[in-house]
C-alpha cells in the first residue's frame, strides 16, 4: 500500500476534469499513457502567466520580462534536480519527447554518424524512436539494427550484445514500452553500449512520472521526456544531454536566442542550453510545468508507483477471469499498462461501447506498428493508469467490459 499519508480523495480533488461527466456518466480515464490529466495548479500556472506577467524572456529589461525569465529558468533548475543532472545547462527545453529525439538524430547525427555506422533501436519502440533514426540512416547511409523481444515483450539482451560491432555509434531505446508497459533494463543497456564506445539515448516518455530517474547514476548520454505525460501541459518537453557531448554538437535550428553574434559573414552561437533553443520558447507551458513537477514531488514518485502497481495487480487479476482474453506483454518488470484483446471481438468495438459508459481507453496500434507485426496483431486494447485512478474505477470498468462483451458476442 502507498504510505499512510497518501490520500487518494485529496489527490483526485486536485484534478478538475475528474468531476466531468461523459455521456451522463462519471469520467473514468484510463488513457494515461497517451496523456495524463492536469491538476488545477498547472491550469492556474498557465493562466497566471498570461494574465499577470506575459512577456518575452531573456532580453527585456522590464518588470514583466524579468519575472517571466525568472519563472522560466526556475523550471530548468527544478528539472535539473528532478532528473539528477549535473548542470542546468544540460537541460534543453523541447516541444516534447519526439522533438528531443529528432534534435539528437539531426545534431548528433550530423556530427558523429557517418557512412556505414550503426544505430541500434528495439522492437518495442514507438514510431517517434524509429522514424528519426531511419531518416538519419538514409541521409548518412548508416545502418539501423533492431533488438528483438521475447513473447513476453522483453528485450533479448544476448541478442542485443550480438548486434554490437566496431561501427556501433548509438543505441536508442525506451525506458518503458508505451504499448506493453515493459520496463527495460536500461542501466545494463547503457553499460553494454558504453563498453563498445557507443552513446545511448533513452526515450523517457513513458517512464518519467512512474519511475525515479537519475541521469547521472544511469550514466545516460541523452534522455528525452514530455511534460504532458507527467501531469503537465502539452507542447513542452525536456532533452537532457551530457554537457561535453552537447558542446560538440552543431545547433539544431537557427534563429533568435541561440546566437551570440550575427553578421552576414559569420554567426557565433550562444552557450548551452540556449544554443539548442532557437526562437521564442513555449514560455507559458514551461512555467506551468513547474506545478506538475511540484505535484509529483509532493506525492512522491515511489507513492505514485505503489498506487499504480496496486491498480495494475487488481486489474490484471480481474481481467484474467474474462473468457477468451489474451494479454500482450507479460514482462516481469512493467508499469501500470495492460494491453489485451479477444479473437472474436474487435478492439474498436470495445472502445466505442466503453466510451458510452464514460470510460476512456486506448485501442489500435499505439504508434508501434513494427511491434504489432511482431506480435501478429493489428492492435490491442490498452488501459493505463495514473495516480488518481481508483480500485472502484477498475471495478466499474470490469463490469462495463463484461456488459460490452455480452453485447458484442
Amino acid at each position: 500500500m502507498p504510505s499512510s499519508n497518501f490520500d487518494i480523495e485529496k489527490i483526485r480533488s486536485l484534478f478538475p476534469i475528474l468531476n466531468f461527466k461523459v455521456k451522463g456518466k462519471d469520467l473514468v480515464y484510463f488513457d494515461n499513457a497517451a496523456t495524463t490529466q492536469k491538476p488545477q495548479a498547472v491550469i492556474d500556472g498557465l493562466s497566471d502567466y498570461y494574465s499577470e506577467y506575459n512577456a518575452n524572456i531573456h532580453r527585456g529589461i522590464h518588470f514583466l520580462a524579468e519575472k517571466a525569465t525568472g519563472a522560466y529558468e526556475e523550471v530548468r533548475i527544478q528539472l535539473q534536480k528532478f532528473l539528477g543532472a549535473a548542470s542546468s545547462e544540460e537541460i534543453i527545453f523541447t516541444r516534447g519527447t519526439t522533438e528531443g529525439i529528432n534534435l539528437v538524430a539531426s545534431s548528433f547525427g550530423d556530427a558523429f554518424i557517418n557512412k556505414g555506422d550503426e544505430i541500434i533501436i528495439s522492437e518495442l519502440e514507438h514510431h517517434s524512436n524509429i522514424v528519426p533514426w531511419q531518416l538519419l540512416c538514409e541521409r548518412k547511409k548508416a545502418i539501423l539494427k533492431v533488438i528483438p523481444i521475447n513473447d513476453a515483450g522483453e528485450l533479448l539482451i544476448d541478442e542485443y550484445k550480438a548486434l554490437f560491432s566496431d561501427k556501433t555509434k548509438l543505441v536508442a531505446v525506451n525506458y518503458v514500452s508505451n504499448a506493453l508497459g515493459t520496463i527495460n533494463p536500461i542501466k545494463k543497456i547503457i553499460d553494454l553500449a558504453h563498453a563498445v564506445g557507443a552513446k545511448v539515448l533513452i526515450d523517457g516518455a513513458q517512464s518519467t512520472s512512474h519511475i525515479e530517474v537519475n541521469v547521472q547514476e544511469l550514466d545516460v548520454d541523452f534522455y528525452a521526456c514530455s511534460a504532458h505525460k507527467m501531469y503537465g501541459p502539452t507542447g513542452i518537453g525536456v532533452l537532457y544531454g551530457k554537457k561535453d557531448l552537447l558542446n560538440q554538437m552543431p545547433p539544431y535550428q537557427g534563429g533568435g536566442e541561440m546566437i551570440e553574434e550575427v553578421s552576414f559573414e559569420k554567426t557565433t552561437f550562444n552557450a548551452l542550453p540556449y544554443k539548442f533553443e532557437a526562437g521564442t520558447p513555449n514560455i507559458g507551458d514551461t512555467i506551468a510545468f513547474k506545478a506538475a513537477l511540484d505535484f509529483i514531488e509532493e506525492v512522491g514518485v515511489k507513492n505514485i508507483a505503489k498506487q499504480e502497481d496496486l491498480l495494475l495487480q487488481h486489474t490484471q487479476k480481474e481481467l484474467e477471469k474474462i473468457e477468451g482474453i489474451k494479454f500482450f506483454g507479460q514482462a516481469k518488470e512493467k508499469v501500470s499498462v495492460i494491453s489485451f484483446g479477444f479473437d472474436d471481438v474487435h478492439h474498436q468495438d470495445l472502445a466505442i461501447l466503453l466510451d458510452n459508459f464514460g470510460i476512456a481507453i486506448r485501442t489500435g496500434h499505439h504508434c508501434t506498428q513494427p511491434l504489432m507485426k511482431r506480435l501478429g496483431i493489428l492492435g490491442t486494447s490498452r488501459v493505463s493508469f495514473a495516480v488518481y485512478n481508483t480500485i472502484e474505477e477498475v471495478d466499474y470498468f470490469i463490469e462495463a467490459l463484461n456488459k460490452v462483451l455480452n453485447m458484442l458476442r
Binding site: H346, H347, Q348, N356, T363, L378, G379, M407
Partner: protein, 144 residues
Amino acid sequence: MTIKEIQDKVVEEFELFTDWTDKYAYIIELGKKLSVLDEDYKTEQNIIKGCQSRVWLQPELKGNQLIFTADSDAVIVKGIVYLLIRVLSNHSPQDILNTELNFIERIGLTQHLSPTRSNGLLAMVKQMKFYALAYKSKLESEVK
C-alpha cells in the same frame, strides 16, 4: 424507394430507441447480418485505409444501377456500413452523386464519421461517391 425515402425510413426506425444500448445492439445486429464479402474481394485495391478497423468496398454496375458490397473487421463499423449500403446501393450513379447523405447525423452517429475518428467510414462514403462518378462517366461514354 428513392435514396431520400430510404434515409427517412432509417431515421424513423432509429427514433424507436430511447437508450444507447438498444441503438448499438441494433447496429451490432445489422453488422452481424451484413453478408460477408468473399475473401477474393478483400484485396489491397478494395481496402479503405483507416486507423483502427479495416473496411473493404466492392462496386459493381448492373444495368444502370450501382451495387455495393462491403465488409469490415469491426462489427459496429459493419453495422453502419450495412446502413450505408441499404441507403446508397441499387441506385443510379447520378442519384448517388445527387444525394445529400444526412441519416448518420440524424440518428446520432456522427462521431463515427468525423475525420479524426479515422475508422475508414468517412473515407468509405467518399469512395462510394467516387465510384458513382467513375461509373457515371463510363455510362455516358457508352451512350456516346
